[in-house]
């Protein structure tokens, strides 16, 4: 026992890589494990690059939102309205182009729609302090309803001749690499810098950890939360466009089925539901795990009914493991070892 105590002191003296990046390493481990399991189950499929090309095209459609949602979850809030914002922003884009607005201008208005949606969510949650689950269930119907009314429930074809630039930006592979994943990597780098290397990012952690302390130290809690919701709004519109151009068609139901995948990615990535901790890297890796389970089960020749079962197991086991590791780390006091 005495020996153990000795090593503990050493560890405390300089927090080990494991202590600092434990949950990120955990999620990467889970990802590798699932990958090897799939290779083992269906070696033919999972040694073929095409299966990876398929993940790489579809995962970012919700993964990019998971990256932005990480900010909101770290502040201790939740946004359930992003699937509706995906559809509403894309609808605005389609309608404006149909009304002969130059496409880049339409794009700006589409993103602006995302800003307004996020602003409404953030204002109601942060300024009026209504629980975010309640607010965003409400705005989810509001934005979806508005979109359905605007589109009268009809879809819009998004062919390559009509939108050559948009297809080049959002769908066509770049140097034979799926451009969707390039976007996801770009967003991940930008968001990691935003979260870890800016004042705003620092305040996101502090606000989620203890909003009263943050206010006492002069941090504008309302502003930080509103900005986080706006980030999700804008990124949702981008993801809506990405999804629609991938399918060459805008469906008024765009975003349906994205909700649970996206939220699962954030939690699987180690971001705490209580706020205050989380990482972009975690959400990034977790998104691909979620994407891989969805596509991988079927590709591996396992009955598709197993998808959800497997999905549920991975999420529950990962979250339980993270919680246990977390408790272990926090229980250690510097002096009382």
């Amino acid at each position: 026992m005495t020996e153990q105590t000795g090593t503990k002191t050493l560890e405390n003296n300089n927090p080990s890589v494991f202590r600092r990046y434990g949950s990120q390493m955990g999620i990467i481990g889970v990802g590798l494990f699932i990958w090897f399991a799939f290779i083992f189950a269906a070696p033919d499929v999972f040694t073929d690059y095409r299966i990876y090309a398929a993940f790489a095209q579809t995962t970012p459609q919700f993964g990019i939102i998971a990256l932005a949602l990480t900010f909101v979850v770290i502040t201790g809030e939740m946004d359930l309205s992003f699937p509706s914002i995906m559809a509403l922003g894309t609808a605005i884009f389609c309608l404006l182009v149909k009304a002969h607005v130059f496409w880049p201008v339409a794009l700006i208005f589409a993103f602006f729609t995302g800003v307004v949606c996020g602003l409404i969510n953030g204002y109601l949650v942060a300024k009026l302090t209504i629980p975010s689950l309640v607010v965003t269930i409400g705005t989810s119907f509001l934005y979806r309803g508005l979109e359905l009314v605007l589109m009268s429930g009809t879809g819009v074809p998004l062919t390559e001749d009509m939108y050559p630039e948009m297809h080049a930006l959002l769908r066509m592979p770049l140097f034979d690499f799926p451009i969707q994943t390039l976007w996801m990597i770009l967003f991940a780098i930008l968001f990691a810098i935003l979260l870890n290397r800016t004042k705003f990012g620092a305040h996101v952690f502090l606000v989620g950890d203890n909003p009263v302390s943050a206010r006492l130290m002069g941090i504008n809690v309302v502003r930080v939360k509103i900005l986080s919701f706006i980030l999700v709004g804008v990124v949702s519109v981008f993801a809506g466009l990405l999804t629609s151009f991938y399918g060459f068609y805008f469906w008024p139901t765009t975003g349906d089925g994205f909700l649970l995948n996206t939220i699962a990615s954030v939690f699987l990535g180690g971001t705490s539901v209580f706020g205050g901790t989380g990482s972009i890297l975690g959400s990034f890796v977790a998104s691909y795990i979620v994407g891989a389970i969805n596509a991988g089960i079927v590709s591996a020749g396992i009955n598709a009914f197993y998808t959800q079962l497997c999905f549920g197991l991975v999420i529950i086991i990962s979250v339980v493991l993270q919680t246990i590791i977390d408790r272990k780390v926090r229980k250690q006091s510097i002096t009382s070892n």
Partner: protein, 261 residues
Amino acid sequence: MNTTISKDTRDKPVIELINVSKTFGEVKSLSQVDFKVYPSEIVGLLGDNGAGKSTLVKTVMGFHVPDKGGEIYFKGNEINDWSVSRARSLGIETVYQERALCEKQSIWRNMFMGRELRNSLGLLDVKKMRSESEKLMKEHMRFTSTAVHPDNTVATMSGGEKQGVAITRALYFEAELVILDEPTMGLSLTETKKTLEFVKNIKKAGKSAIFIDHNIFHVYPIVDRLYVLDRGKIAGVYNKQDISMEELIESLYEVARTGKI
């Protein structure tokens, strides 16, 4: 009411509150309070639980906005858009009773909360904040245990160490005025002694402090002037040389019984 004003000849007060009231719904937590702190002066704030000490401190700090009609002056200039970030940028720092720490975050994030250091690109200078935190913990707080590492989360620290972070944070930024709201609460004897030593050093450095503590034996020896607060009102102001500790204790009992001195 004892209103000794013998400081007229001195500089302008660092902070001055005139006729400040603060109402929460139906409750009047502060009622027409006049309060000031001069440069290199330590002011003690005494009063029972619920007397309004914390409310007064949070009003000075810009956390609470006073009711209409109250005036706040910083070094003689009236300030209308008082806020925590404004107060901190002018050099007022507080060690709160509740410590105001974010426990899941690292020491360096807590140390620089709301005042993060940035490099020329506008990005956080994490390296500098880490090394500064380490230096401060060792030199300033004299943490003898080498276990203190800037990347450790505050949740892993003892009560005294947490208080150390809160105090160091307030002193690091070379504040003009440091407010300490019951800083010795929950501390061990040695930690208390160390904290009181800090308060004395503030005065030596030519800065001011507001010192709030339940324990009159802590407050009396180090302050220059004393305010006694009762049910949101200033019940008395004393220069220390005009009142002995025994008289002070006597009048505190009197206030508690009657609300008057």
